[in-house]
Amino acid sequence: MRQANRRYLNRFIPSMICYAVFLVGSNMVEAAYAPTGTPLIALAILPALPIIAVIWAMGMAIVEQPDEYVRAKLIHAMLIATALMLSVMTVWSFLEETGAVPGKPVHLAFPLWCAGLLVGQVWLWARDRIAGREA
């Protein structure tokens, strides 16, 4: 189990470092050279690639998790995260229709999902703690 966690961190941490470097780098290049066309598209996509790598690392964390209960809990937390993110985005869409809120910040979908994952994991951890105390 620890090996699986270590492998996840070995993928997650470099991806996040790349994200920070690519984000700052692409913004600087864009400001300095004002590229257009294909170079601009490439620059815009560049910071998204490490985020896709993080999503892949999360998937691999499930695939490589040897403990079936921990794996089931992780999947459960991801379902909670997905439900929360879809709920927020759905409510936002209806509010957007009325003009009460600005357009959806779509780039926040993944951070929102990650926040939901944290909520899910904390909830499942608390549930286990309470059940463990009752046992």
Partner: protein, 67 residues
């Protein structure tokens, strides 16, 4: 699913960690199975049965028989 895991473990004077180590799973997995919050997969149920040298149905109670 109801089971006798806690009793069988106590008979051998094993802690949850001892059993987890023998089954190569986490302690929280043992706790979840013991308290009926998680039903183990068939391979893990067989592993548990083999460890205690019992049949699966001697450890786990069929849900249809608990109604």
């Amino acid at each position: 699913m109801k089971n006798r895991l806690k009793v069988l473990r106590a008979e051998r004077d094993w802690s949850q960690s001892d059993l987890a180590e023998r089954l190569e799973v986490s302690r929280q997995s043992v706790n979840a199975i013991e308290t009926g919050r998680y039903d183990p997969s068939l391979p893990l149920a067989f592993k548990i049965a083999e460890l205690f040298e019992l049949a699966i149905e001697d450890i786990f109670t069929s849900p249809s028989k608990t109604v």
